[in-house]
Symmetry: C2
Subunit: 331 residues, 2 copies
């Protein structure tokens, strides 16, 4: 497309291109009359500067890359929202990459972000805590500040921000024990690093607060149907269980549906605790007790780490904040 340039504006306004550039960028020492003249032409022609050209000469794009495995999961889209919102306040645009779960694809996304010269990248999710990603960062964006939310990674330019979910899950166990639950099980939908941490929390919590009973962990795989089947199977195999902690609210939802169908009363016969304090936990029947993992806060911190790092300021490499149990009616 024969796009309009500052030269055409310059010609029409009877000045040089540099003058046009100056008024666009708010350079102060310009005669008021010429500024007005140029402004008028700018507006009448709906001029918008070409960002590619600007980026090239300014050597800065004011773009941020955000990586998530699947934008459709609530926790991820919430995270994007918080990160994008905060960056936008500071004048940055976000390039969002839905990488899927294959690390090879993730690596190629990191390459792409490097081509696009993003000024920072946010990795949303512990699944990025892998050697491949670490290497990709080291080879393609060794100087670009990177934050990983819910995880940690080696590298001078990478920052890890997480909430203490291990401790959080331990507290969930304690909470349940205090509610007189005697047999507590733990379910995850896949073995992400974060889920493994939660599992550790469960295990240590059991050892600490329910040493008498032996821990029960199961994994379901992803997808509504698969989760439901696996949970159903586990429930039948373990009728003695009177409390469940699930690695995600959504699993809790499915369990609640299942219990309802089986005629098991919640929380009288069985308690449920989810994780993340998502919308799901608010609209479930009954409303679900959940571990708030403070996504908003971690995202906020991640953005500010990155902003500082872009400015060249020193920031700490690893930050952890506290989780909080939100008690509702499934416990």
């Amino acid at each position: 497309m024969p796009d309009i340039t500052i030269y055409e504006i310059a010609e029409e306004a009877g000045v040089s291109a540099s003058t046009v550039s100056r008024v666009i960028n708010g350079y102060p020492y310009i005669k008021k009359s010429t500024r007005n003249k140029v402004m008028k032409v700018l507006e009448s022609r709906h001029f918008v500067p070409n960002e590619s050209a600007r980026d090239l000469v300014n050597r800065s794009t004011r773009m941020i890359g955000i990586l998530i495995a699947d934008i459709r999961t609530a926790h991820n889209s919430d995270g994007i929202f918080y990160v994008e919102q905060e960056f936008r306040k500071h004048g940055y645009s976000c390039l969002i990459c839905n990488t899927g779960y294959e690390m090879a694809d993730t690596v190629s996304y990191i390459q792409k972000l490097s081509q696009r010269k993003v000024e920072a990248v946010v990795l949303l999710g512990s699944i990025y805590q892998t050697h491949e990603v670490e290497e990709a960062i080291a080879t393609y964006i060794p100087k670009t500040p990177v934050a990983i939310v819910s995880g940690s990674l080696q590298g001078d330019n990478v920052y890890g921000i997480m909430s203490n979910e291990k401790l959080g899950v331990m507290e969930c166990v304690r909470f349940l024990v205090e509610k007189k639950r005697s047999c507590i099980a733990f379910g995850i939908n896949h073995s992400s690093p974060l889920n493994l941490i939660k599992k550790e929390g469960y295990l240590e919590g059991m050892a600490k607060y329910a040493a008498a009973s032996s821990p029960l962990v199961f994994e379901t795989g992803k997808g509504v149907e698969l989760m439901k089947e696996s949970i159903a199977y586990f429930v039948k195999e373990h009728p003695e269980v009177d409390a469940y902690i699930f690695s995600e609210d959504f699993m809790g939802m499915i369990a609640l549906q299942l219990f309802s169908e089986m005629g098991m009363a919640v929380p009288d016969q069985v308690s449920v605790i989810g994780i993340n304090n998502s919308n799901f936990s608010k609209v479930s029947i009954p409303p679900m007790t959940t571990l708030d993992t403070k996504l908003y806060d971690t995202c906020q911190i991640a953005v500010h780490c990155l902003l500082d790092a872009i400015e060249g300021e020193h920031v700490s490499k690893l930050i952890s904040i506290f989780t909080e149990i939100v008690e509702r009616e499934t416990t």
Copy 2:
């Protein structure tokens, strides 16, 4: 950052910059030996071309803009997923803009996309069906193909893709009437153009299939608490209602929670139909009957319209596909 350029590669490989450029772009007439020589240097230095420079000279960015009001709502993140996935298959990256509900902000996003020289834009949601947006398109991106899914808009370069939700909701009414429901109400959470269309469908459906009873429509406002309050209020005012159609599954979830708390049996005492066939409708108690509005298909069509338009091919300006009722256990 002193990024590495093709000139440094050229020097190290003992050739000219143009030769380097040629091997990068797969230009055929190059001696195998020099190609290999250059390739080797390219890889050893982890060279990645500067996209800003490429865009500038190629006059094309292979970037697509996607606008949504709030990425956190499931329907929106699903839409982004489908659109992004399909565009990526064709080598495009997506710049995702979370505009919020203010049209002034949307307009400034459209300006930004124009600066970034995106090659097409996707408007996800009927809320963009406004005069401001129409004007912004006409003045800032009059030559850029634009698709609006779930809506329509004037403009030579804009395409509207939607499913026939009016007819769909009419069918919902009929469906309920056939289930011997005698008093059917309709709830929306805000007055988007699409929700108004659904309302029309409800009204026409009532006129056609339930002429004896008078239609009952109410609006709740957004947010979990607000929705719940408003629904509760309406339910108390209208004990005669024995079936609800909600403009979104999420509203249905909240209603289901409310009915459970009130001891109203679903579907025996009251039926519920949601819209969109989202995950919510699958995990509700009981699983929710819903109108599938075929988001995947509309997104797919939108992308291919745009792809064709980018190629300069003629495509039809307005496309509508059919919805489908997914019967589960709330009816």
